[in-house]
């Protein structure tokens, strides 16, 4: 039972990081109908930016806020300058461009920071060996509690933004019917760029939380997280923010259970394949995901 709670808790905490990145994928997908393959790499770059500010002596919390602002600017800038122009000409082009961004950002990070020895990103929360609480016999490290709390608070704020503000209403309107949104006076360009910006800022936070847990920064930081986040977005449904959160947490927990209870034949090596298998099976059996909507429209 002790192991059960340990896996459950570790899974929720890691899953909240996947959920943050998955939420970024969903926000972009809802707004523009594109899957941003560069989401993880944008998050990785922003994590380096956070480290850089912190290394220059800026306090960590302020560095994270600056990193999220850079993430917003990066996301919004990419949408407004590269994606929008390509999307007008070809939808498939966006796919290729986001793959190119993935590779470009990865090389860029390696070029700027790669020659340094692996960077240590200080954790946001106390991380000494005895910084934990025992609950149901499981070790609840303060760092993991903190990650889960920060991720849940940000998601809560995001849902308030979607549901309660005029800007959230505009985002939902643009996602539902861009043409009528324009006719209602909504500046669709600003709304779309902001969706990408919000996704970028969430990526920055998810990268920083993940970097704090891993402890070491490199250009491959977000690769596995991105796979898990994609699995979460697929499982939850690409147009369902709530689904992304639930599926992200589920995948985090599932990953811990699989690797923990079946160390022999799944273990640490095969659990990434399990995530890919999840994507495959969901697309085969229920392409709209668990909470995604199949378009209802009557004319």
């Amino acid at each position: 039972m002790e192991r059960f709670f340990q896996y459950l808790f570790d899974g929720l905490s890691l899953g909240s990081i996947y959920a943050l990145l998955a939420l970024g994928l969903v926000v972009v997908f809802r707004g523009t109908g594109h899957l941003n393959f560069a989401q993880g790499e944008m998050a990785m770059i922003c994590t380096f930016v956070v480290w850089q500010f912190n290394d220059w002596g800026v306090p960590l919390v302020l560095s994270i806020i600056l990193g999220m602002i850079v993430g917003f600017a990066l996301g919004a800038g990419v949408e407004a300058t590269i994606i929008r122009g390509v999307a007008k000409k070809s939808q498939a082009g966006v796919f290729v461009v986001s793959i190119a961004l993935f590779l470009g950002l990865n090389s860029l990070a390696a070029m700027i920071w790669g020659s340094l020895p692996p960077e240590q990103l200080p954790g946001l929360f106390p991380d000494e060996p005895d910084d934990f609480q025992r609950i149901f016999g499981a070790v609840w490290r303060y760092e993991y509690i903190g990650v889960l709390a920060v991720a849940l608070v940000l998601m809560g704020l995001l849902f308030l933004l979607f549901a309660k503000t005029k800007f959230g209403l505009a985002m939902r309107a643009v996602a539902s019917n861009p043409e009528s949104a324009r006719l209602a006076g909504i500046p669709t360009g600003i709304v779309l760029a902001s969706s990408w910006g919000i996704a970028g800022a969430m990526g920055a936070l998810s990268g920083t939380l993940w970097g704090g847990i891993v402890g070491e920064l490199n250009a491959g930081l977000m690769f596995t997280v991105f796979i898990y986040a994609s699995a979460a977005a697929t499982l939850g449904g690409f147009d369902s923010p709530g689904g992304a959160v639930i599926a992200g947490l589920t995948i985090g927990v599932g990953e811990q259970f699989l690797a923990g209870y079946f160390p022999g034949w799944i273990g640490q090596e095969m659990k990434l394949s399990a995530a890919l298998l999840t994507i495959f099976v969901v697309l085969l059996v229920k392409p709209s995901g668990l909470f995604g909507s199949t378009k209802v429209e009557r004319v």
Partner: protein, 234 residues
């Protein structure tokens, strides 16, 4: 001076020009209908007037040249456009649809929503339902109510009867007629159902392959034998 003055308007999609320089006016408080066969350029005219597609020529609204104004600015100036077939936000509730309609302004929004619920009682019953789950007629009424939430001076309405049962179409036209008569709302209407349109509109433009081939009062057009044969099937 007319509320809407369109001069030598040309527009199209990419290299294909669909409208070849049309002139068109809508006076204050007037209901004008554009008739024509499929592919005549009716919808293109609407889209060109509201700036959804590239255009040349000139469009003047309420004395202001709007030829180069963005579509999203026009609603604030007083033009509301109900596009063909999909004027609603299917994933949003009826309430949210109406709130989006008031996006470009502020104040008195709740009172306005109540007002349109009084005009369209069936929308009030479905206020928390997603628009995509409404019937075709209810969606068309919602699209019109959504457009009117912006307090327009001119309503562009693109084929409101499309896909609707005759009785529902009647009902939609009654509402448009009433708004035009009681509140002086100017309406530019595109319609395939010529018989119905001629009953509510004061003036008519007849469009054929992107040019205006005839125009006049509804009574004149309705009594022209050649036009009756071609468009009214009698």
């Amino acid at each position: 001076m007319s509320l809407l003055e369109v001069r030598a308007l040309s527009a199209g999609y990419g290299p294909v020009e669909v409208l070849h320089g049309i002139d068109l006016d809508v006076d204050h408080g007037e209901m004008v209908v554009i008739l024509g066969a499929n592919g005549a350029g009716k919808t293109t005219t609407m889209r060109a007037v509201s700036g959804m597609i590239g255009r040349s020529g000139s469009v003047t609204f309420d004395g202001v040249d709007i030829t180069r104004t963005n579509a999203e600015k026009l609603v604030g100036m007083g033009i509301a456009h109900v596009p063909q077939g999909r004027g609603t936000f299917p994933d949003l509730t009826v309430m949210d649809n109406l709130r989006v309609g008031a996006y470009a302004r502020s104040g008195g929004i709740a009172a306005d929503i109540d007002r349109w619920f009084a005009v369209f009682p069936r929308l009030a019953e479905r206020r928390d339902q997603r628009a995509g789950s409404l019937s075709g007629g209810e969606q068309q009424m919602l699209a019109i109510a959504r457009a009117l939430m912006s307090h327009p001076k001119l309503l562009l309405c693109d084929e409101p009867s499309l896909g609707l049962a005759p009785l529902i179409t009647q009902e939609v036209f009654e509402v448009l007629k009433k708004l035009n008569a009681d509140e002086g709302l100017s309406v530019l209407l595109v319609e395939q159902n010529a018989n119905l349109a001629l009953k509510v509109a004061q003036r008519v433009y007849l469009l054929e392959t992107g040019t205006v081939v005839a125009s006049g009062s509804a009574a004149q057009i309705a009594s022209d034998d050649a036009i009756r044969k071609a468009y009214l099937g009698a």
